[in-house]
Amino acid sequence: MLEVDGIHSYYGKAHILNDLSFEVRRGEVVALLGRNGAGKSTTMKSVMQLVRPRTGAIHFQGENLVGQPAFRVAKAGIGYVPEDRRIFTDLTVMENLETGRQPSRQDTPTWTEEQLFAIFPNLAERRTNRGKHLSGGEQQMLTIARTLMGNPSLLLLDEPSEGIAPVIVEQMAETIMKLKAEGLTVMISEQNLHFARAVADRAIIIEGGEKKFDGSFSELEAHPEIRDAYLSV
């Protein structure tokens, strides 16, 4: 579904991603693991073309994304949930959802506000509240719901468990399982190995912008030295 092939991404002169290649297959949940500064967020931004890789190719359902504006990547069916949430603080919950609205797509479930409120019941009670009056967990749910309004077929979740209460983290894991059950393909970036193992089918580990491991969680468990070397436990 998504093939990333040898991309190099930079922030100014800083070389962040170094010849990174991986694949995401339809229907799976992939966890992108690595320490702070390993390049997880940059990987997601590179797929979205918010950071333009200087070399390499990214194909999504056969279409090359490199060089396209971000809105075309979104329209192609990739939903992006940024790490820092970036909800529109002056807009109400309903209005935030409206910004994400896109036409429905054939190959993927279509979402309405009511369906999303069923998944995120906390938001339903806060429809007319402004984004800035929501708690951290509610903001996290809103940013996911907003992206789902675009009916994506691939969802990129950047560190969904970061900075929210443990109870909410559990809810988040359940939500991701629900989305998978609906037929969505998901890629999450995580530092929390425990959370990743609970929701993902496969792990990709990066460090210094290079891929260090790509395989199942049982394989990863068979090589504790990889975990110790690249993940903070």
Binding site: F71, A74, F88, T99
Partner: protein, 617 residues
């Protein structure tokens, strides 16, 4: 009492056009973060296009149809400007965008001159609304009543569009975080174009709606922009109801001012603004701008270094050449050189706060003209000796800068720019309207230097020593600890404060110093010309300096000086052509898009590239 009420109604009617233009400016700023200086030009275009259409289309339908068609036409022109000029430079620093919109002003001025000629057009009366109605016995124009009725409708329509439609939701979202809106699948490029077109259309509508009360002329663009900025600043940037309230306040005040204080109509507006800003620094309904809120990240500034020995020798050789110039150059060249040095010092003083301080001032002419006027007033009214009067130029400009700076320094970015512009307009309106003292637009004449400086050659040396001395002094300050503190405050105010720098105080000092230096340039200027007019205080004068700094290159120390030399020469040559504004405007726009680093910056980059290639080879 009835008279008061009638006056109030006239003020309300006058608010209509002002509100339309201001709301358009506010809307465009809210989403694109661009302060569109060409907004007054769209207003002017609206008036001219409206007049032309009304001449063609007859009757009720023709009149109102013309107004709507004008809005449409100006909206399309706005969309075109956005796509051609602004789209390539959304990521550029604020100053570049401003300079580009100033280029648009020049282009539109000359295009309007080409199409409609230099003569003023009187607006046609609205059919069926020619006379007056009596309200409590007082006459009120029928058309005024219609305008009063229309304005709230437009306010409501805009409010509905922004707060109740999907387009409005997207616009508000883009105001906060454009990139995220794009990542959600919205083509922001078209969203921006749409907003810009809508804002322009509002300005065009304003221009057409005011026709029966006024007309169309080529000065409308600059004449309204001062008032519009005042309205937007008082109301709060990006707030539509704020723009409405402020338009009403300013217009009503203006009507009463004309009746009771006819000498102070222009000043009144700025006094109100100053009062509002003391109480609410971000306007009545505006909200505080948090630095970095919109995620504008630029490339880090390269550190500036003193010139290497080769550069120092080159500068010394150039100065030597200037010193020897009277030996072989004729009088015309010397006068041109005096102009150039004066302009270079003026530009260098602006560059000092802009480049090193990061404070984009739109009203720097207040200090240049203020210094010139201070000296000229002393000579004119008290026969003060030239030497003493001359000293007062930088002194008075410095004190003026302290006063204006006290208000402005508290603000940053666009608010700072708008406020400096408004204050310079205040100084201008004083010079223009306080005829007893300043003789208004007749100017102050016969302001000649002392006997020993009366020849061109002595005055040339006088200019050279003070002008070049001033520029070298400013350069020196940039390399002194004060300059380091100033630059630290520009690059990271919070971090600078955490290391113990009182950023605001450093900026205040720099602002005053820059004002004094601009005043020094103004002092040299007034005695070289023998006269001073309010034009030296106009917005256009402030913009000349901005353009010069920009052309030379903001990030280079020599930028202001090189830009001033370039501009003086080019203007000397260009102004002989009939449509020089058009050409200059196009050059400015081209430079913004093609060589945004300015002359010095571009050469430096080119040089670095050549050297890099040699290293690689």
């Amino acid at each position: 009492m009835a008279f008061f009420f009638a006056q109030f109604l006239t003020g309300l009617a006058n608010a209509a056009a002002l509100f339309l233009v201001a709301s358009g400016l506010s809307l465009i700023f809210g989403v694109t973060r661009i302060v569109n200086f060409a907004h007054g030009s769209f207003y002017m275009l609206g008036a001219f296009i409206g007049v032309t259409l009304m001449e063609i289309l007859p009757g009720h339908v023709g009149f109102w149809g013309s107004i709507l068609l004008t809005g449409l036409a100006v909206g399309l022109i706005g969309a075109l400007v956005e796509m051609v000029v602004l789209r390539p430079i959304y990521r550029a620093p604020e100053l570049f965008q401003l300079v580009a919109t100033f280029g648009v002003i020049l282009v539109i001025q000359d295009l309007a001159l080409m199409v409609w000629g230099a003569e003023d057009r009187l607006g046609p009366r609205a059919p069926g609304l020619r006379g007056i109605w009596r309200i409590f016995g007082e006459p009120v124009l029928k058309y005024d009543i219609v305008l009063i009725a229309i304005t709230p409708v437009i306010l409501f329509a805009l409010w509905y569009l922004i707060s109740r439609t999907r387009l409005g939701v997207l616009v508000r979202a883009a105001t906060q975080d454009r990139e995220m809106v794009g990542a959600l699948g919205v083509n922001q490029a078209w969203l921006f174009t749409g907003v810009f077109a809508l804002g322009s259309a509002l300005a065009g509508l304003g221009g057409a709606l005011q026709l029966p009360k006024g007309g169309a002329d080529l000065l409308m663009d600059f004449n309204i922009i001062g008032a519009v900025f005042v309205v937007v600043v008082i109301g709060g940037m990006g707030s539509l109801p704020g723009a409405f309230i402020a338009s009403v306040i300013i217009s009503v005040l203006n009507v009463f001012g004309v009746t009771y204080l006819p000498q102070s109509t222009l000043v009144l507006m700025f006094v109100v603004m100053a009062v509002v800003l003391i109480i609410r620094p971000y306007g009545l309904l505006g909200r505080e701008e948090v630095a970095g809120e919109h995620g504008q990240v630029g490339a880090p500034e390269t550190p500036i270094r003193p010139y290497p020995p080769a550069g120092q020798i080159a500068v010394a050789a150039f100065l030597g050449l200037l010193a020897l110039l009277p030996l072989f150059a004729d009088q015309f060249v010397l006068i041109l050189m005096i102009d150039m040095v004066v302009f270079a010092l003026f530009a260098a003083s602006l560059h000092f706060i802009l480049g090193s301080g990061g404070m984009v001032s739109f009203g720097h002419a207040a200090f240049f003209g203020g210094g010139a006027y201070a000296a000229a007033l002393l000579v004119f009214h008290f026969d003060t000796p030239m030497e003493l009067a001359f000293l007062f130029a930088p002194l008075a400009a410095g004190i003026l800068a302290l006063a204006i700076g006290w208000f402005c320094i508290r603000l940053t970015g666009v608010y700072f720019a708008m406020l400096t512009l408004a204050f310079s307009q205040l100084v201008w309106s004083l010079a223009y309207q306080w005829r007893d003292v300043t003789r208004g637009d007749d100017g102050l004449v016969n302001i000649w230097p002392a006997e020993w400086l009366s020849g061109t050659v002595p005055y040339y040396y006088f200019t050279l020593i003070l002008g070049v001395g001033g520029i070298i002094f400013l350069r020196h300050v940039i390399h002194a600890p004060f300059g380091y503190a100033l630059r630290a405050g520009r690059d990271s105010p919070r971090q600078a404060e955490a290391t113990g720098i009182d950023v605001k105080r450093v900026q205040f000092g720099a602002f005053a110093l820059a004002g004094a230096m601009a005043g020094l340039a103004g002092g040299i200027f007034v005695f070289s010309k023998g006269s001073v007019f309010p034009t030296e205080l106009e917005i256009a004068a402030s913009f000349d300096a901005l353009i010069v700094v920009f052309l030379g290159g903001v990030k280079t120390l020599a930028g202001g000086v090189v830009g001033a030399g370039f501009m003086t020469l080019v203007e000397d040559w260009l102004t002989r052509l009939e449509y020089w504004r058009l050409l200059l405007g196009l050059v400015i726009i081209a430079v913004v898009i093609i060589a945004p680093e300015g002359i010095v910056g571009s050469f430096r980059t080119l040089w670095a590239r050549i050297r890099h290639k040699e290293d690689a080879a």
